[in-house]
């Protein structure tokens, strides 16, 4: 039997043209600029940076544009691009205690030092459509004139700046806000988070194959690049009883943190600039043993950009995956590291699910041959039985 193994080049070239046309849409509508996506679709860019495992808001915006807003396809573009770049090394571990806070809330303490700062959040919105956002172009005011070189800055001033103008008597936030678990930690009521002996370099799953049971550094890296929807579902399952955890949000903080890197040739730390991060510290039910008195346990989530849902989900699953260390049974999916780590990567998952649509002609021909033979043999067997029956009746 002959099966075509080559062909389709012309069709593939034509589909590239067609997807470009589909991406562009109606040409009477102005084309999106990458900077518009970066500035106005920032939360989508954050998701793409997390799942693409590469912090670069411009590239995330480009990826979203090129992928017509398909977050997983955009993450795939980021991952593919990353493999073309040399790696200069690893940063100094981030110090989230020095974050320039834009949002910081706690569900455990009302009057925590530094205060509850709501920041930009949809939490207290009514989820009613704001149809004024449809009334382009009059809503195109609000560009920040303090950002130099921003197009339209002068126009924004003329039209009236729609942005928040803080009262001059509002003081800036405290420069150092304590992380909430550290407050509990000072009382000894919180499971301690200290680096292991020698502060070892973390495992890197992009360089080495993962083995199980996986250590916490491997789990946190996998979850940080894991699919938000998958992590959310797992986190939700833990709360609903498939993992017995209904914790408190010790703290969520969003803001900018400096990244420091020590180039070998300089020998001192260079500040590379700021990245936006979201951190979630979850405070969970007690655990204790003969040696350790009862104390709260913790789950940790950290993500690029403003991405609270992701950081919260990650911290729920982080706590669930600690079951082995805490001597709890690993009964449910969110507690099983192999299940979580092997299924959280959406680029891998999409690749395996979607490979099904690629040609499987040879495999299928094989199956087709097999089922025809089985059926033929079955018919033959039935026919033989039919012939045998009359004799048996005698």
């Amino acid at each position: 039997m002959y099966v075509a193994v080559k062909g389709g080049e012309a069709a593939i070239l034509a589909t590239h043209d067609l997807v470009a046309e589909a991406r562009r849409g109606d040409e009477s509508v102005p084309e999106l600029a990458v900077a518009q996506i970066r500035e106005q679709m920032g939360l989508a860019c954050g998701r793409v940076m997390n799942e693409g495992s590469l912090y670069d808001p411009d590239l995330a915006a480009l990826a979203l544009k090129q992928a017509q807003g398909d977050a997983i396809e955009a993450a795939f573009l980021m991952r593919a691009y990353r493999t073309t770049l040399p790696r200069f090394g690893s940063s100094e571990p981030l110090d989230t205690a020095t974050m320039a806070i834009r949002r910081r809330v706690s569900a455990t303490y009302k009057d925590l030092p530094g205060g509850q700062v709501l920041g930009p959040t949809y939490d207290y919105t009514h989820r009613l459509f704001d149809f004024s956002l449809m009334d382009s172009p009059d809503v195109m005011v609000g560009l920040d004139p303090t950002i130099s070189g921003q197009e339209g800055a002068s126009r924004a001033t003329a039209a009236g700046d729609a942005r928040v103008k803080p009262e001059h008597d509002v003081k800036p936030l405290d420069s150092h806000m304590p992380r909430v678990p550290d407050i509990l930690g000072a009382e000894g009521l919180m499971e301690e988070e200290a680096p292991p002996e020698g502060d070892p370099r973390p495992f890197d799953l992009t360089r080495e194959p993962v083995t199980f049971p996986a250590d916490r550094d491997v789990r946190l890296q996998a979850m940080a690049r894991g699919d938000e929807g998958f992590m959310l579902g797992l986190g939700y399952s833990v709360q609903r009883g498939y993992g017995n955890s209904h914790p408190f949000v010790g703290e969520i903080r969003v803001g900018e943190v400096a990244v420091e890197f020590v180039p070998e040739e300089l020998g001192f730390a260079v500040d590379l600039g700021d990245i936006t991060l979201t951190e979630c510290q979850m405070v969970n039910q007690f655990a204790g043993s003969k040696e350790v008195p009862p104390q709260f346990t913790r789950g940790y989530g950290l993500s690029f950009g403003h991405s609270e849902r992701k950081a919260m989900s990650m911290s729920l699953v982080d706590r669930a995956l600690k079951c082995r260390e805490l001597g709890e049974a690993a009964t449910y999916p969110a507690q099983q590291d192999e299940f979580v780590l092997y299924h959280s990567d959406n680029v891998e998952a999409a690749g395996f699910v979607e490979h099904l649509k690629l040609p499987h002609y040879v495999d299928f021909q094989g199956e087709l041959e097999l089922i025809r033979r089985i059926r033929k043999e079955r018919e033959k067997r039935l026919a033989e039985q039919q012939e045998a029956l009359p004799e048996a009746a005698e």
């Binding site: 997390n50 495992s53 590469l54 670069d56 040399p86 790696r87 200069f88 090394g89 690893s90 940063s91 981030l94 320039a100 806070i101 834009r102 009057d111 205060g115 509850q116 700062v117 709501l118 920041g119 930009p120 303090t146 070189g149 928040v164 803080p166 509002v170 800036p172 936030l173 678990p181 550290d182 301690e192 988070e193 200290a194 680096p195 070892p200 370099r201 973390p202 495992f203 799953l205 992009t206 916490r216 550094d217 491997v218 946190l220 890296q221 940080a224 400096a258 990244v259 180039p263 040739e265 260079v270 500040d271 590379l272 600039g273 700021d274 951190e279 510290q281 940790y300 690029f304 982080d318």
Partner: protein
């Protein structure tokens, strides 16, 4: 010569500055000096590390794009630039600025320019902080009865 802490400060300011800002800074200081590009602007990544719980075990959060460049002036001064992003032109200008700053006196035009940029960056941070502070919750307790 300058101490490392001072150099770290200006490198941090240059990393946060735009290409246009560094360009303008250099123009104030006169014509661009002749220089040799020892390491052409190169974009790569740095793996960003976090710590579990904020202070515990290190883990890899994900990578970030970084562009670096190394230049040498005729004087022999080496200038470095390492900054987030993919702007090669900015990296080269920042590396030249770093080299020039090392031999400039404290009242020189580049030092003053970097100081002005640092002030702008600080003002932007402070504005963002004040906007956030405007969303700080003031709790009050309702007293019932007498």
């Amino acid at each position: 010569m300058t101490d490392t802490a001072t150099r770290q400060q200006w490198m941090a300011v240059l990393a946060r500055a735009t290409r246009g800002e560094i360009d303008a800074l250099l123009q104030q200081a006169g014509p661009l000096p002749t220089h040799e590009v020892l390491k052409a602007p190169e974009t790569g990544t740095v793996m960003v590390e976090g710590r579990a719980g904020g202070a515990g075990r290190r883990f890899n959060l994900g990578e970030a794009t970084v562009t670096r460049c190394v230049v040498r002036l005729d004087s022999g001064a080496m200038g470095f630039s390492y900054a987030l992003g993919r702007d090669g032109r900015k990296a080269r200008l920042a590396a030249i600025t770093d080299a020039l700053l090392q031999s400039e006196i404290e009242t020189g035009p580049l030092r003053r320019g970097v100081f002005a940029l640092a002030q702008q960056q600080q003002a932007a941070r402070e504005l963002a902080s004040r906007k956030a502070a405007a969303t700080k919750v003031d709790f009050f307790t309702l007293v019932r009865g007498g």
